[in-house]
């Protein structure tokens, strides 16, 4: 992925998370259904949560790398 695209994830990721975990999207999963004994709503909630934690970790690593490389001087610095 291109660097400026990654950079835009900084705001796109939280925005997507808010949309996914708020009504009305959340209510789509509010059904009396069990998935392996777990209610659909709980399963959805924790799954989205976990996926976004993973995505944030990945993004933070990328941003960290970009920041460190931006900070590094263009010469070796002896």
């Amino acid at each position: 992925m291109r660097s400026d695209g990654v950079s835009d994830l900084k705001w796109a990721l939280p925005a997507a998370l808010v949309i996914l975990l708020m009504p009305p999207v959340l209510l789509l999963f509010d059904r009396p259904m069990l998935i392996g004994g777990i209610p659909l709503l709980h399963a959805y909630l924790f799954l989205v949560w976990l996926v976004f934690i993973g995505a944030t970790a990945w993004l933070a690593r990328r941003l960290f790398r970009d920041e460190e490389s931006a900070k590094a001087p263009p010469w070796d610095g002896n």
Partner: protein, 918 residues
Amino acid sequence: MLEPEVIVAVAALYLGGLFLLAFVSDRRAERGRTGFIRSPIVYTLSLAVYCTSWTFYGAVGSAARNGVEFATIYIGPTFVFVGWWLLLRKLVRISRNQQLTSIADFVSARYGKSSAISAVVTLIAIVAIAPYIALQLKAVATSFEAIARPSPFADGTAPRPGFLSDTGFWVAACMAAFVILFGTRKIGADESHPGVVAAIAFESMVKLLALVGVGVLVVAGLSGEGMPGVFSGEWSPKVAHLATLAQSDETRWIAISFLSAAAIVCLPRQFQVAVVENQDERHLFTAAWLFPLYLLLISLFVVPIALAGMTLLPVGANPDLYVLTVPLAAGYEELAILAFIGGLSAATSMVILSSIALSIMISNHLITPLLLRTRLIESTSDSDLSQTVLFIRRISIVAILALGYLYYRTTAGANGLASIGLISFVGVAQFLPALVGGIYWRRATRDGALSGLVIGFVVWAYTLLVPSLAAGGWNIGWLVEHGVFDLDVLRPTALFGLHGWDPLVHSLFWSFGANLTAYIFVSIFTSQSPIERLQSALFVDVFDRSPASAEPVLPRSARAEDLYRLSERILGAERTASVFEAQAMRQGRPGRLPLPDPQFIALVERQLASGIGASSAGLMVSRIAKGEPIAVDTVMALLDETREAIRYSRELERKSVELERIAGELRDANEKLTQLDKMKDDFLSRVSHELRTPMTSIRSFAELLVHEDGLDEARAQRFVAIIDQESRRLTRLLDEILDLNRMESGQINWNMETIDAAQVLQDAIAVMTGLAERCGVRLTFVPVTWPAHVDADPDRLKQVFVNLLSNAIKFNTSADPFVRMSFSVQDGRVDFRIVDNGPGIPSEDRAHLFTKFSRAWNERAGDAKGSGLGLAISLQIMRVFGGDIRLVSTGPTGSIFSVTLPVSHRHTPGPEIVDAAK
């Protein structure tokens, strides 16, 4: 049931261990061995002070009452941390740049170091946090009673009469002592407490382990014992509401998510750990995902524990204590003790940090400014202020816990843990507009922030705090029933007739709405003072300033000795010496006193601010530092200078790039011009040469005619004929040069009409037939069956064809010479091809074939038939017709010229003709 003595002993042991941990960490930090304490993991765990006993006990209780709604408390902070780059990073950066000590300090510093704002924020925080501290007291007290009493499942929430027999009182007293020991041993260089942070981080591990331990017991150990399957089976109707989100709870879901997102930055203790105690901005890169992960883990077992409690325990059991009573009921006493310790750790960490944060705010923003203003402590006297500050903080801690206890004592019996916490959340959410607006909106003013805060606080207190106090038994039921002034529209729970809303959502709507409205509109209609302008630029543009560039400071002067004495009183001798000597060394001055330039005065002020808050520090420094009255212009100039400098250097950079580009273009243009100049000289010399040749012969023959008398008639006749021929050639040459020149400058009248170009070619062929026969060249024209209509001047077009044909005929030296012509219509263009089998055009001539500077032309000019300017003229003609003429290919076996013209729009060939052609 467990012996109370055992529990007290275990708790005391735990707290003692915690104290030891903090003590050791502080000592290590003093020696500079901060390795692990300053790691991103510890930073993240310290953030988990967010999870108090509200989380530890209350989340399960909340889940048992309202189902999955409990998760909103953890989702809100997740939003903020997933979006950490937008808000947290900026808060941390500003706070570090400005050395801010608390949320009150932050907000006040943004709005011109206003002491009114810091005082208001502090007051709101005290009132808003009191219920929250009460919650912790209640949780510890009830959990203690539950675990130590014979009947652990009793509700046991009402405090006993009399202080001394009340568990809550002893909990509060113990905690006050603990926090004083813990947090106010010394006044820090900055307001960071490495020992406290280490202890908090440890407590976060303990509470997570305890809750996960109980959760694992429930899921693994108890799932067989008649529980509704946590991972399998049916959900009985009794617990079915845990599985879904009731439709009516939509607004609560949104409201609580919003509140908890606000709380993760607005709660004084969260601001303390996340922003003030942050040692390294890069820790956020880890905390961004690790903290949400912690929240996820801690909420993972909440619903299973709630399910277990609802299934296994009697109906009357307090759901807020399921974490404790479920393992007790299952006979796991050790686990119950672990759970109790977990709850204790959750409560103590919150109380420790909240009261430290609040005590800093109280001493910096309420008491110290008050003392300074009333001149009880003179800024010029020599007494050491740091002891006074420590004393104030200890008193503040006692006062905070007393207030919390008061709230607990009078109301806490009536509400579940979670609902008490949410009262606090709405209270601290009032900071959000001023805080977030302050770092993004340059225009926001002190008056706007102040009015928003005050209005929001008043509405919150009226719509949420008052009803909660009334429900707790305060004698203010009439107010809730009838509203203030007996006005029904002003009823706290149905303000302005807004009926039927959830009280929490109702209060949030009115208080936050009023706050935000006041903040925005008062800001718009008031103006900023000079210092506000300066601070707002420092906050909003924090990322635009490079760390190397000088910070804009107010022009002031002070005596170095005065500054030194002031600093010594607040920061202590050691620290003052190090700050001053470092600056003196940087300035290259001998001794310990640096030159007190405005930069240094600003530095000292910031150092002082780290001890007593920005507004007090500003006040104290302003008493010894004299400056010209600060005008808006001065600040504007300060800001503009730096901004101007940045813009100027960017502009320079842009200009130099542009200049380089222009220089390149000029170089190219110059080269072209030189070439053109050379070609022009070339052309002129050739023209004069060409003119000279016929002129010379004309002159010599004319001389012969004039001077030789005995010239016979026949010779004279021949001479005259030569003169005539040469002068014709001369005229033709001049005509063509003029013709070309006129064409190039557009001075020729064109006789444009729609004609059949094929017919014109036929005419040209007819003209050239004589020449072709003389040279023995075969002319063939592929028969034409349909016309090619174009818009052109027929004479000029014919001139082009004749020129091409004559060249093709004249220069064809082949043994069996021929010239073949054809044409086709494609894509709206007529394309004529003239193919010969001549010797081809030398490669050095090809580039200039169609220019008047062509090298070829003067060689051909020797020919009686043409001047050699023919191709240049032909190209000009074709350009005028919108067509083109080019050399398609050339070589030893012949050349192909192509003449293209657009098909006339006025006359498109009929379809029947095209069909016929096909």
